[in-house]
Every structure is written in structure tokens, then in C-alpha cells.
Symmetry: C2
Amino acid sequence: MGKALVRVEEGSPVPAYRQIVDQIRVHLNSGVLKAGDKLPSVRTLSMQLGVHFNTIAEAYRRLANEGWIDLQHGCRAVVCMHQPAKAIATEEADLLCQRLRHLLAEMRLKGIPVVVVQREVGAVFER
Amino acid sequence: MGKALVRVEEGSPVPAYRQIVDQIRVHLNSGVLKAGDKLPSVRTLSMQLGVHFNTIAEAYRRLANEGWIDLQHGCRAVVCMHQPAKAIATEEADLLCQRLRHLLAEMRLKGIPVVVVQREVGAVFER
DNA sequence: GATTCTGTATAGATAATATGTACAGTTAAA
DNA sequence: TTTAACTGTACATATTATCTATACAGAATC
């Protein structure tokens, strides 16, 4: 039994649909979800996560707007062949670095050792 | 002219008061804000950031609830002498690692080179 | 064709967020 | 001491965001 595709954190201040978008986007990038793959139906996933299926539909709509998946009435969402360009403005990069610094500071504050962080970096960027 | 203590990202989905809380908490941990320091008044900071002063007040209230600052009617907020314990449950650590992975994946997706990330890690954790 | 699966559209309830305004405590100058 | 200017607070309100309920419409399968 493979790990669930998505997990929704109950008490989080970040809304469910955005948690879902973020996690699926990660899987799209990491290759867990490949072009042509079909996503679970909004109702299937909604029951797994314990949220309303319209919440899943909202998440899918966002991903479609970003160019990650194709939505067509009546059939399951499918991962696009031509995924979105990865160009990025330097300003946006700065913003991401800022978010990274804040998160790292929080982790350091909470006593998480640097080696753990380095391991995550290595895992994501493929050393 | 030192850098501003806080910066609120306009179009962000994360609410202004939480951006403020997060950034000030980072400064509290990093030592930019030390015990006994006074924070800017809610009105002063609100004008710098272009939000209502009640939004700043809300942020200060959160930080006070977390034990970072003392609030007293009539005088400016002041950084506590006894700052909150830094104990952390493993579950919370897992959550932080998960957030880190997602952010890293996003950065990689956006084409940010790994060396930039490693530099940030080194800066925060003091190589 | 009928059933069952799929995503969609719209309205409504609830909660989160930001603001407007009046208030009350503290400080410092007059 | 009085006054004025500064501080955080309280509460009502407007707006927006989020989630849900329900009915609908396209596609697949029998």
C-alpha cells in the first residue's frame, strides 16, 4: 500500500484546497505524477481526505490554471503533456529565498539539527 | 537606514497579520530583537506597512499569547525576558520537514540552483 | 438506452480577515 | 497638576475566503 498522494492537516491555518494544490504540485514536479497520469476523481479523493468534493474540484481548477493538468467535463483530470514553463523572475526568487530563510530559522528555533535539513535538500535536489 | 523590521507581501494568500507574526518571530529568535527591546507602536508600524493598526494589534496579541512579548495598555510592546520554551514534539518536527520539502521542491521547480539554497542553510545555521 | 461514473455551476452558511470608530491607560511636556 | 500626545484595547461592521449542499451536464460502461 503506497503512501497516500495527499494528506490534509486538520487544524492548519492554510486552507485545505491550497494544501492539496501544493502537495500535488510537488508530486507533479518530483515525477511521482507523470504526463498522462490520471488523478483520482474529485469524489474519491474527497472521501479519502474527509473534505467536500467541491474542495477537491477547486484544487484541480487551480492546478489546471497553472497549466499542470487538463480538466474535461466527464472524465478524470489528467496530467498535461506540456507542463508549465519553469522560468522565474528574480523578484520571485528573492521571495522564495525569504520564505526559505524564515522556515529555516523556525526549524533552527525548534531544535532541528542542520544535518536533517541538509538531508532534505539533498533529497529534493538529487545530490 | 537599516532594513525594515517587517515587510508585508501584497498579493499573498497568507494574511497580513500572520506574515507580521512570522517575521517578527524570526527576528526574536535570531537576536535582532532582544529581551527588553520595544517594538514599534501599532500605529507606527501600521503606517509603514500600509495596513490598519488593528491588524498590527492582532499580530502583537498572537506573539503575546506565544509568550514572546509583553503587552500593557498605554505603553509599547516589549520583548519578554523569559522567552517561550523551545521544546518541540517529533510530530511537529515532521510537519516542519514536510513544509521544507514542499518549499524546496517549489524552489527547484522554479529553477533556483542548489548552491543558493545551501548558502541560505549555512547562513541560518552558522556553518 | 440506462446506469454510473465523471467534472461543473450556483447558492448559501460559516469563518477569517481587515477596517472604522470610540475608548482607556501611560507618558511627558506645559 | 493639567494637558496633550502617545500608547494599546474593544467592539461593531464590511468584506472576503473557505467550505458545503444540491442540482446539473458530459463521458464511459454495461
